[in-house]
């Protein structure tokens, strides 16, 4: 085999190519890197923690309003099955619409809730707040004063961070 390209061809091609990435092939692909590059949720500890906090938050907010899952589903106009998964399954990624509806019902910034639910990569501060919140809550007991306070503070923090986001371009 012989390759016949002129020097001029090579240089013109090189100049068009510039410094671009040229890598090819499935074996080259690192799944976690690719998922992150495409804006998909990573199966990382940070994401799991925020998703855990999301489920917990929804549950506590629901109980603060003394609602059953069924009642919340009706009011928010979302699937009850999905609500169950949100509250119970840490790996579950809810539909963005569902997150939006829940934000409306609980009077939260939708963007704030999106960061928790796995629809967007969580900021480090969000992850930190999520860990603090989840660690300070006991899901099976009635909502205590401590839990109520924790919910309030977490919601305030999320809203504050969402506002910060709104200011940055």
């Amino acid at each position: 085999m012989r390759l016949n390209v002129t020097d001029d061809w090579c240089l013109a091609a090189a100049d068009r190519e510039g410094d671009r990435e040229i890598g090819v092939g499935f074996a080259a692909a690192d799944p976690t890197v690719l998922a992150a590059a495409q804006g998909q949720p990573l199966a990382s500890r940070a994401t799991e923690t925020t998703q855990l906090a999301f489920g917990l938050l929804i549950q506590l907010l629901r109980r603060r309003k003394s609602l059953t899952l069924a009642q919340l589903a009706t009011i928010a106009r979302v699937d009850m099955e999905e609500l169950l998964l949100i509250e119970k399954d840490v790996d579950y990624h809810p539909e963005p619409r569902t997150v939006h509806q829940l934000a409306q019902v609980f009077e939260l910034r939708p963007k704030a809730l999106m960061q928790l639910s796995g629809s967007a990569a969580p900021r480090e501060e969000v992850s930190r707040e999520a860990v603090k919140f989840a660690a300070s809550s006991e899901p099976m007991a009635k909502l205590t004063r401590e839990e109520a306070l924790a919910v309030e503070q977490f919601v305030a923090a999320l809203n504050r961070l969402a506002d910060k986001d709104a200011l940055t371009p």
Binding site: M1, G25, A27, P31, A36
Partner: protein, 218 residues
């Protein structure tokens, strides 16, 4: 076994000069040890740096997990597989592995008679040395490795009777190059490999490939 199939030019970024380089058919021990002793440490240094900076996974260099030693062993004696290297200034500047069996890699685009599932040269892997990539080394050393390897794949396709047809799955960071510079047809994310991330599949028709290698714009 490795044989020289062309002497070409690369653009040296620092001086803007044209630098003589070589294209080899077949990879041998010199290319492999160059990969191991020179490429790998640079890639590992980048990963360590990104890790220390707490960068999100999306900026990690893709193709950090290739192992060319393993690839060569697997492909060595199979007629279907061919490997190529670009060298310059005693270093391996780029590596490529291709498959030429039509059953595993049939063409998807119709030819001028409307026929599909024809043979093509499928690029299994293609990688530039890390010092030619800004995500590892700024400024990069040489430009043009990608274009030369694509031209090589097209030439092989012509030799095999595949009329220049080539296909490949691009890494996301490389889509700009294949779509906008090489101007291959983007057939979209390929979901036919369950368990793998759906990389976008690109293919050249006969006319387009021949136009690329002859320097005219398709």
């Amino acid at each position: 076994m490795s044989s020289l199939i062309a002497t070409i030019k690369l653009r040296e970024v620092a001086t803007n000069q044209a630098i003589q380089a070589q294209v080899f058919d077949g990879i041998d021990q010199t290319h492999l040890s160059n990969w191991k002793t020179k490429w790998v440490p640079v890639v590992q240094a980048t990963e360590a740096r990104l890790l220390a900076q707490g960068a999100p996974a999306s900026v990690y260099p893709q193709s950090a997990h290739w192992d060319w030693n393993k690839k060569t062993t697997a492909f060595q004696n199979l007629l279907s597989y061919r490997m190529f290297a670009v060298t310059c200034a005693h270093d391996t500047q780029g590596l490529m592995a291709v498959a030429t069996d039509v059953v595993m890699h049939p063409s998807r685009l119709p030819d001028d008679k409307g026929r599909r599932a024809l043979g093509l040269v499928y690029i299994d892997f293609l990688e530039a040395a890390p010092w030619n990539r800004p995500e590892h080394v700024q400024p990069p050393r040489y430009r043009g490795v990608g274009s030369v390897l694509i031209a090589t794949a097209i030439q092989l396709s012509l030799d095999e009777g595949f009329k220049g047809r080539i296909g490949l799955h691009s890494l996301p960071q490389s889509e700009d190059f294949y779509r906008n510079i090489v101007r291959m047809n983007d057939l979209g994310p390929d979901t036919s490999y369950p368990g793998s991330f759906p990389l976008r599949y690109f293919e050249f028709t006969t006319a387009e490939a021949q136009a690329f290698i002859q320097g005219g714009k398709p």
